[in-house]
């Protein structure tokens, strides 16, 4: 089975494109730094956001019920889904009962997680993603490669080529304005024909029973204002207690994610349109299992800003697809193995544990500590390659015996310099593929300290 390292190596093999990918995302990180620096109380905001999420998760059941009561009082139908299958069935049932055959969606990582699109398409419903980046990857029949910037792996020339085939734009066109206009025209007709709109949820407010959706393109508003039926799908961790808590999160979200002061549109949905219907589907799909693990609980506080991806030196040089999970980067590397530890066993190791993600996270999730903790869990589950486990056990054996450690060190330093280069840099030596080994000194520090002190 190929893990992250193999897929990352394939991505990084195209060095100029990898550098372009790295620079594109670093540019967003720099924008984030500029915006964060403009808020004197930035660190206090992060602290507050973290505290609100910790509190909310500590009594999530109460807040979920409060939300349900208030949403129901607002005329919203609230549904509960244990897993992806239930979620998909609920959405389909709502659509089928309204004879919907054309659905427009704004960005929702949850529906990606549940694989809603293929489920609905197999049942005769045309699904159109209306976020530009999402539409691009949908037309390419690809998943998003980043949770906020779904098509960040593509260059404008790639999109020109795609739109030429799919939307009939001029061949060879790569002007972003021209291509965006073409997409706008194409999506406009989809909005006009849609019979229902589906959105994700950035925040659900227990106190008001309303949901908040943040977009930059206004597509969520188009998709919910034209058709009379609105379905909002949310993971159960999206809850915050009070409307005033939004003030904390809305100041952090766009600044952290894209380096904007705020998203262009922040839409509050507190009930159905006059004469329309609104449904909220609340999904567990493994979240309560994470809630039950103190070490990993805070990962449920994630507001999906994408800052940990933008800052991650590994993500920037390996691309979203190298993770093989719908949420890539540091946060995805914690969430994916929760779902399937064996399949995603390589992800917690796809990090140098540099900790940049932890310092950038607007809700202060200790991401790199959780990546480390997950490594332990995977070793305990015996899904880490045996070679690695034996190698580390062997190293531990040597290092806990000073005589053996000294002997091994001396032997290594004596033998390496006299071996032929071809042998030292043979196929076994992963270090030496692109790097020289350190020069081997004749004496170790402990050999020299006697002379030094005498």
């Amino acid at each position: 089975m190929t893990g992250h390292a193999e897929k990352a190596a394939a991505f990084a093999a195209n060095e100029s494109r990898t550098h372009w990918h790295d620079e594109s995302l670093w540019f967003v990180r720099v924008k984030r730094d500029r915006q964060a620096a403009s808020i004197p109380e930035w660190e206090a905001l992060r602290e507050a956001a973290s505290a609100i999420k910790t509190h909310t998760l500590s009594r999530l059941a109460d807040y979920l019920e409060e939300f349900e009561r208030n949403a129901t009082a607002n005329g919203i139908h609230v549904h509960w889904a244990r897993d992806a299958a239930e979620h998909n069935a609920i959405v389909h049932q709502i659509l089928a009962s309204h004879n919907v055959t054309r659905l427009v969606k704004s960005k929702s990582m949850l529906t990606e997680e549940c694989h809603l699109n293929p489920y609905l398409e197999a049942r005769g419903i045309e699904v159109t993603d209306t976020d530009l980046g999402e539409r691009i990857v949908q037309l390419r029949k690809e998943p998003p490669s980043h949770i906020v910037l779904p098509a960040i792996h593509l260059k404008k020339e790639d999109i020109g080529e795609l739109f030429h085939i799919e939307l009939g734009t001029e061949k060879g066109a790569s002007d972003p304005k021209y291509l965006t206009e073409a997409a706008r025209g194409h999506l406009r007709s989809k909005f006009m024909e849609a019979q229902a709109g589906l959105t994700g949820v950035n925040f659900a407010v227990a106190e008001t029973g309303g949901v908040v959706v943040c977009t930059n393109e206004g597509n969520a508003d188009m998709g919910t204002s034209l058709p009379p039926l609105h379905i909002a799908c949310m993971g159960m961790e999206k809850l915050i207690p009070r409307a005033e808590d939004l003030a904390v999160f809305l100041r952090l979200l766009a600044r952290s994610g894209t380096g904007q002061p705020v998203t262009t549109y922040t839409s509050h949905f507190n009930g159905p349109l006059p004469g329309g219907e609104m449904h909220v589907v609340i999904v567990d799909n493994g979240r309560s299992r994470i809630l039950g693990q103190p070490t990993f609980r805070s990962s449920l506080g994630c507001i999906r800003c994408g800052a940990c991806m933008n800052t991650c030196p590994v993500y920037r040089r390996s691309g979203g697809y190298s993770y093989g999970y719908i949420v890539p980067g540091p946060i995805g590397s914690i969430l994916a193995p929760q779902r399937d530890p064996e399949k995603y066993a390589s992800l917690p190791f796809a990090s140098s544990l540099c900790g940049s993600c932890t310092d950038v996270c607007p809700v202060k999730i200790d991401l790199h500590q959780q990546l480390l903790a997950f490594r332990k869990k995977l070793v305990d589950l015996k899904v880490v390659p045996l070679q690695k486990r034996l190698g580390m056990a062997g190293l531990g054996f040597v290092l806990s015996r000073p005589w053996l450690y000294r002997m091994s060190g001396s032997l290594l330093r004596a033998v390496m310099p006299v071996l032929p280069r071809g042998l030292v840099y043979g196929a076994w030596n992963r270090w030496g593929v692109q790097r020289e080994l350190p020069a081997m000194p004749k004496e170790s520090f402990r050999d020299l300290i006697g002379k030094e002190l005498s």
């Binding site: 390292a5 590994v314 070793v379 060190g409 692109q434 000194p441």
Partner: protein, 249 residues
């Protein structure tokens, strides 16, 4: 004077003895009674970072048995010190002397600036220097403010080096991006690790750094390996090797 246990990480002991000697000389010249307990080997980090707790834990227990008796423990490595300070708790919690050891194990730069409170450094280093702010020292020991944090800037390494005559510390485009070493990551994710390293070297080169200076030889070993393979002109040095030549007071 407090008793100081000198902790020389295994790879420094075996591969970079001059860094250990430099650390020893700096501390002795400051008047400390420095002891190097010879039964020491490794803090356990390679095993712990691979998730192999069973292999790492005995080393943590040994570390406490060997170093628990000193007033202070000092090491020329941010990463290994962070292992002791931030990652021993779940094994050694409640053990006699553990909390003392945890709170009194220091990386060299933080020891000099924060405990010894060195204020005057007399020496020359007439080179353009790029600081490689290795991640564990930076974000787990807080040797400097990280670029992600929106707090008042400080940098304990720069604070020490900037006093040297002739030194020019250059500005990097990415002041604290990871070099890509990451322990076993360097071989597990060889392709990305090396690309990260080459990008760091390029950033230092673009800024005009002749010498890449850091407080973790492991990261510098990775960068040095890439530099020598590419036959570039830069060289790497541990901060102790530079401070060794100066008078500290």
């Amino acid at each position: 004077m407090p008793s100081v246990g000198l902790f020389i990480p295994c790879y420094v002991d075996q591969l970079y003895p001059q860094v250990g000697l430099a650390t020893l000389r700096i501390l002795r010249r400051l008047g400390f009674n420095v002891e190097f307990p010879p039964e020491q080997t490794c803090c356990g980090q390679p095993m712990a970072n691979s998730g192999c707790d069973a292999a790492a834990r005995p080393l943590a227990e040994r570390f406490l048995a060997i170093f628990g008796k000193y007033d202070h423990v000092v090491a020329p490595s941010g990463s290994c010190v962070s292992m002791v300070r931030n990652h021993y708790d779940h094994w050694l919690h409640g053990k006699p002397r553990f909390e003392h050891l945890r709170d009194n194990t220091f990386e060299l730069c933080e020891y000099l600036t924060g405990v010894v409170k060195v204020t005057k450094i007399d020496g020359d280093f007439p080179f353009k220097v790029g600081l490689q702010m290795s991640c564990h020292g930076l974000r787990e020991l807080r040797l400097a403010r990280s670029s992600e944090q929106m707090t008042a800037p400080y940098n304990k390494v720069r604070q020490l080096l900037s006093q040297l005559r002739g030194i020019e510390i250059v500005d990097l485009l990415r002041p604290d991006e990871c070099c890509g070493f990451g322990g076993a990551f360097a071989v597990d994710e060889e392709a990305v690790s090396c690309l990260m390293g080459r990008d760091r070297i390029e950033d230092h080169a673009r800024a005009g750094a002749e010498v890449i200076v850091g407080y973790d030889m492991s990261c510098l070993m990775h960068l040095d390996g890439l530099i020598r393979r590419a036959e570039r002109a830069q060289r790497v040095m541990h901060v102790a090797e530079i401070l060794e030549k100066a008078q500290l007071a």
